[in-house]
């Protein structure tokens, strides 16, 4: 964890405690990405869901930044998030749970920019 990531961690705490903290789409994606990057030093690289899943999540969020996200992107985002429950230790499990909260509270924000057809 680095000092820069503290803001993001605070934000996540707010999200978890208070479901009303809402962000617009771009800020949300940016913040999630910063949060995931802040977790890199914690990841030990031993189990698959966390080591490869987190990178994959970031690549999927990149698609939001590029504006190329589709419904598949969203559903894969969801699947990888829930797959983090298969992680070996609490680093992966925590990332997974935080991401679950994000999805729960902001699903509509992430759903809106997705290309449907």
């Amino acid at each position: 964890m680095t000092i820069e990531s503290r803001d993001v961690i605070n934000l996540f705490e707010n999200w978890i405690l208070d479901a009303d903290t809402k962000l617009n789409e771009m800020d949300l994606v940016k913040n999630i990405k910063t949060y995931l990057e802040s977790q890199h030093p914690e990841i030990c690289g031993k189990c698959t869901p966390c080591r490869d899943g987190v990178v994959r999540l970031e690549r999927l969020l990149d698609k939001y930044v590029d504006g190329t996200a589709t419904l598949d992107t969203l559903s894969e985002l969801e699947q990888i998030t829930y797959n983090l429950r298969a992680s070996r230790c609490s680093v992966g499990l925590d990332i997974g749970k935080n991401m679950e909260v994000v999805l729960e509270n902001n699903y509509h924000t992430l759903y809106k920019p997705v290309k449907k057809y």
Binding site: H40, P41, E42, I43, C44, G45, K46, C47, T48, P49, R51, D52, G53, V54, V55, R56, Q79, I80, Y82, N83, R85, A86, S87, R88, L93
Partner: protein, 589 residues
């Protein structure tokens, strides 16, 4: 006892059992990828995850012990989805070139992807984790296929105890497995036993390929290609063509020789002949050392992986190693300098000797210093059992329908003592049969040294078998050691000086050559059972099929001494059949 429910079935299992074992005993298969029983139970790959009622998260079945009252689901949607997703993630970092992969159809990763029906669109182009190809004379590593299961690392540290391959996770997001960074396998402490190649679930680790150069030589009309087949190859070659493990050697031997003939090898010989020769040389060395007070204990030098182990890690004991070359190298030298010029009218440089071996270390051995006579390498190429079956399949040969072929070369006639070299304890038994007859000066009545044969073993411990035999008034303490962990243990015993040993047989692979790194891969049977079946095939050949069972009775070996080598340990024998050992530098970091 704990009472648990797996998929609705209530069972009682012992405390301390893992969920995986409990399910397997019930007949429920849980897929695994990184799991190796007792060696690698770390839960890295997460394909064995199961759902436990009351737990928020999925748990890995391979290293979670059962608790009383557990309710386990191994095939719920949550579990299946998670496994698929994990496999997709792994596949997204694996380079797929399956049709030309050295794993050749034995890839566990491929099979599990197939089983879970993972679609290519779901994981994208499969970008490799690393691009490095780390080379070595015995084994090589292609990092673009690694899925970080850590099996090779576990085997290298637990079974072989060389600690060459390491899991490097300084950067947790991009970990990788490699020997010392920046070095190839030859510069590290790798002994090339090939146990890592056997456990790798993908084609990341593979034996260095000699098939190309052999095919080139077969097609060259000016070269006479002579092949020599190791005894343990015959126990396993059938396994790749639908025969059971431990099929009697006489059923597949003739077919294999016919297949070799069809592949285009000019003359077929048998390494068991070289083994008979080795027994005479090594036995004479032992007698000399006992009678003239030489360095004891005498260590065997048949296993190149063990010889490299000694050169790297125990250099102060190099004096103890028997200077006799390993059987196939000695035989290669004699083929080139005695058999070919005398009987085939060929110059040594026109002869190309190929060994079929159960071993990857032999590939390293042929390029070693000292394994050449008059600047001509004794053996030019080594092909493993897996390599041979690949060649046979590639040539379109239907192995099962072949007729039997009996090689005519005098160097294909061998005795039982040479045949059992492939099993652990075989070298000692073969040597003792000869040594005791020479020292006792009377024919041996009972020559089955059962104490030296098979034993239940754990891969992580290896086996040390010790016995005391009285021969010619000398009490000889004999030991048979196989497996890396056992070699270490033996050296602490030797160094402690509590017991004086006279003859110690070392083999780097647990179980001996029959469990070598180049043997066919067996996935659904524990290692010790495979070893038992294959060694029994060798011992049965010795006791049932072969009329002669003592090396010094082999007429063609005796003829070679008459015509060429004069007598064991003579000057000529030293030139062609003996070598020397030097300490080697290595870096394991």
């Amino acid at each position: 006892m704990a009472k648990i429910t797996i998929n609705g079935t209530v069972v009682k299992v012992k405390n301390g059992t893992t969920i995986l074992n409990a399910a397997t005993n019930l007949g429920i298969r849980i897929p695994t990828l990184c799991f190796l029983e007792e060696i690698n139970e770390i839960g890295f790959c997460r394909t064995c995850v199961v759902e436990v009622k009351g737990e928020q998260d999925l748990v890995s079945a391979c290293n979670t012990e059962v608790k009383n009252g557990m309710v386990i689901e191994t095939d719920s949607k949550k579990v299946i989805d998670s496994r698929s997703k994990t496999l997709q993630l792994l596949a997204s970092r694996h380079r797929f070139d399956c049709w030309r992969c050295p794993k050749d159809g034995m890839c566990e990763f491929y099979d599990i992807l197939k089983e879970y029906h993972i679609l290519f669109e779901e994981f994208g182009p499969g970008i490799a984790r690393g691009t490095d190809l780390i080379e070595g004379s015995g084994i090589s590593m292609d990092q673009s296929k690694c899925i970080l299961c850590k099996r090779c690392v576990a085997v290298c540290s637990e079974v072989v105890t060389a600690n060459v391959l390491k899991f490097r996770d300084d950067d947790g997001m991009n970990p990788f497995v490699s020997p010392t960074i920046g070095l190839n396998f030859d510069q590290t402490g790798c002994i090339f036993c090939g146990q890592c190649v056997k456990v790798c679930p993908t084609g990341t680790l593979f034996e260095t390929d000699h098939i190309g150069r052999v095919n080139e030589m077969i097609q060259d009309p000016n070269k006479l290609v002579i092949v020599q087949v190791a005894p343990s190859v015959k126990t396993a070659i059938g396994e790749d063509f639908g025969y059971d493990i431990g099929t009697p050697i006489k059923e597949t031997e003739g077919k294999m020789f016919r297949a070799l003939k069809l592949l285009g090898f000019d003359i077929i010989t048998d390494v068991a002949w070289g083994a008979d020769l080795t027994v005479l040389e090594e036995g004479t060395e032992l007698i000399n050392r006992i009678q003239n007070g030489g360095t004891l204990p005498l260590f065997t030098s048949c296993c190149p992986a063990w010889v490299r182990y000694a050169e790297l890690y125990e250099p102060e004991y190099l004096e103890n190693l028997s200077t006799t070359k390993s059987p196939h190298i000695a035989q290669g030298a004699l083929i080139k300098h005695y058999y070919a010029p005398k009987y085939l009218n060929k110059k040594p440089k026109d002869v190309y000797v190929v060994s079929i071996m159960p071993c990857t270390a032999k590939k390293y051995e042929i390029d070693c210093e000292g394994h050449e006579v008059d600047d001509i390498r004794d053996v030019d190429a080594v092909i493993t059992v897996r390599g041979l079956s690949k060649m046979i399949k590639r040539q379109g040969i239907d192995f099962k329908r072949l007729d039997d072929y009996v090689p005519v070369s005098p160097l294909a006639k061998f005795t039982g003592a040479g045949a059992i070299f492939g099993a652990s304890g075989g070298v000692t038994e073969g040597a003792l049969r000869t040594v005791s007859e020479i020292l006792d000066k009377k024919p041996l009545e009972k020559f089955d040294f059962k104490v030296l044969r098979g034993a239940e073993f754990k891969a992580t411990k290896g086996v040390i078998k010790e016995t005391t035999i009285t021969i010619g008034g000398h009490k000889l303490n004999v030991a048979v050691v196989h497996g890396g962990a056992a070699i270490k243990e033996m050296f602490t015993r030797i160094k402690s000086g509590k017991k004086k040993y006279h003859f110690v047989e070392f083999m780097a692979c647990p179980g001996g050559c029959v469990n070598g790194g180049g043997m066919p891969i067996v996935r659904d049977m524990p290692m010790h059972e495979v070893v038992k079946l294959r060694s029994n095939a060798l011992y049965n050949q010795d006791s049932q099929d072969l009329p002669l069972r003592k090396s010094h009775e082999n007429p063609s070996v005796l003829k070679a001494y008459e015509e060429f080598l004069v007598k064991p340990n003579s000057e000529e024998a030293h030139k062609y059949c003996h070598t020397h050992f030097t300490q080697k530098e290595y870096r394991n970091e």
